[in-house]
Amino acid sequence: MKTRLFFGITIIIVMALMAVFAPFIASNDPEAMDLSAESRLQPPSAEHLLGTDNLGRDVFSRMVYGARVSLSVGFIAVGISLGIGVFLGAVSGYYGGRVDAVIMRFVEVMYCFPTLFLIMIVIAFLGPDIVNVMVVIGITSWTGLCRLVRAEFLTLRERDFVHAARVQGVSDMRVIFRHILPNAMGPVYVSVTLSVGAAILVESALSFLGLGVQIPTPSWGNILSAGKNYIDYAWWLTLFPGLAILIAVLSFNLVGESLRDMLDPRLSGRG
């Protein structure tokens, strides 16, 4: 169990460092083209670690810069959904009654939409752009988190220390965010880690379909997408971005699940 967590965290850190220090790690300018026949679609070599694409760009450099895009979309989108989900879930669970009913019905409506299609519709209106992608993924993926936080609040609000805080005249917002929320964070951490992986996957899917990050800015999804036309004779164009997405999502899931096992004693002994 510990090894899974360690493995996941190590890979996430390596990818994050790659993204942060991209200019120092990348061997070439990720957007520099070289259309001469001898530098297009070259297989991996010492000069181009992961080969070159159909426009003679260095795939390794594009992957390194793509990590920036993919990871920041993952984190920022989840940050947005965390903010919305936690706030609405907390308010809903704490106040209950009519407030709860209204928020929960709204969540159910959101649940009914197939997320990817909803995102595609919004992108179709707003235009594909990295900021739009982050925001849209964020505002369509908070529902699960909202329900989770609400469920935690429903049990926590009846606890004595909450009554004790209210007896002292602490205001509702302080009771919610300073007294109850810290006690509800365990499952939230798990859910957030898993959502980052999911958000990276959604971003890749969108970029693959041409609705996400736009060329020439590299992202793992659009490198993969550009490479699919050459899959017969340039395998490196699809294999490496595909692997990168796989490993990124896998390590976030590994971390998320080992966190879940650690924070939930009822599951211990199973993993």
């Binding site: 805080a165 002292q168 005249g169 205001s171 007294h179 006690n183």
Partner: protein, 268 residues
């Protein structure tokens, strides 16, 4: 000193068809310790929660009035109520193990109460916390500890210091010693009595234990099935109980050297 600080008039609380408190009336005078006695389910805690207007909102209907300093608290708005809680009327719960937030350090928890009412400037909050810890005879370092690091008695002292930190006009103690073992109970009771004398505090002491009543109360109010069955000065109620139920409760106090096989049973 004969002034009534809190007066409860014909208080009735019901959950649906179920009346948990019926026509309860009593008053508390400034500087006096009033004991509210009764079995489990007799409505003691519900009465206390009504005073703070913190009754659970599940199908709860109430009638009557509770006058604090001449004002009916059922007429107060949410902000006025919030300001009254902790500041004017403070309360200590029965269970010291669950009444403290497990993830917040003791100092911060006491600070919550103090800063919620803006009683003193921020720079003095720290001083005030230390002071309130020392009144309950806890070391200063307790500020940096988490609730799980403290024993039951210490936690109850923390609760008490939180309640006292705002200098409330009335302190409600809901079975403050019930969850503690006997020797700690005595320490806490001595401490409460000491602080009460020292500050001339007005206390509403909720308990089911007449031996505790004997040591601490000035006035006694006996409740049964949501009604007040007897009330009066401690000497009168304990000396010559007018009500059969009170007599039965008093008979339940075990006495050292008692040869009885079984304690008498109260028909609740």
């Amino acid at each position: 000193m004969d002034e009534k600080i809190l007066e409860i008039k014909d208080l009735t609380v019901s959950f649906g068809e179920n009346r948990v408190i019926e026509d309860v009336s009593f008053s508390i005078k400034r500087g006096e310790v009033t004991a509210l006695v009764g079995e489990s389910g007799s409505g003691k805690t519900m009465t206390a929660l009504s005073i703070l207007d913190l009754l659970p909102d599940t199908a709860c209907r109430r009638k009557g009035e509770i006058l604090f300093d001449g004002k009916n608290i059922f007429d107060l708005g949410p902000e006025e109520l919030r300001d009254m809680r902790g500041n004017a009327i403070a309360m200590v719960f029965q269970e010291p193990f669950t009444a403290l937030n497990p993830v917040i350090r003791i100092g911060r928890q006491i600070a919550e109460a103090v800063s919620a009412h803006g009683i003193c400037p921020r720079s003095e909050v720290r001083e005030r916390i230390k002071e309130s810890l020392s009144t309950v005879r806890l070391p200063e370092e307790t500020v940096y500890q988490y609730p799980h690091e403290l024993s039951g008695g210490m936690r109850q002292r923390v609760m008490l210091s939180m309640a006292l930190s705002c200098d409330p006009a009335i302190l409600i103690l809901d079975e403050p010693t019930t969850a503690l073992d006997v020797s700690i109970q005595k320490h806490i009771l001595d401490l409460i009595r000491h602080i009460q004398k020292d500050r001339q505090l007005t206390v509403l002491f909720i308990t089911h234990d007449f031996s505790v009543v004997r040591t601490i109360a000035d006035k006694v109010c006996v409740m049964r099935r949501g009604r007040v069955v007897e009330q009066g000065a401690k000497e009168d109620v304990l000396g010559e109980p007018a009500c059969e139920y009170t007599r039965q409760l008093i008979a339940c106090i075990p006495v050292l050297g008692d040869k009885r096989e079984r304690l008498p049973v109260v028909d609740g």
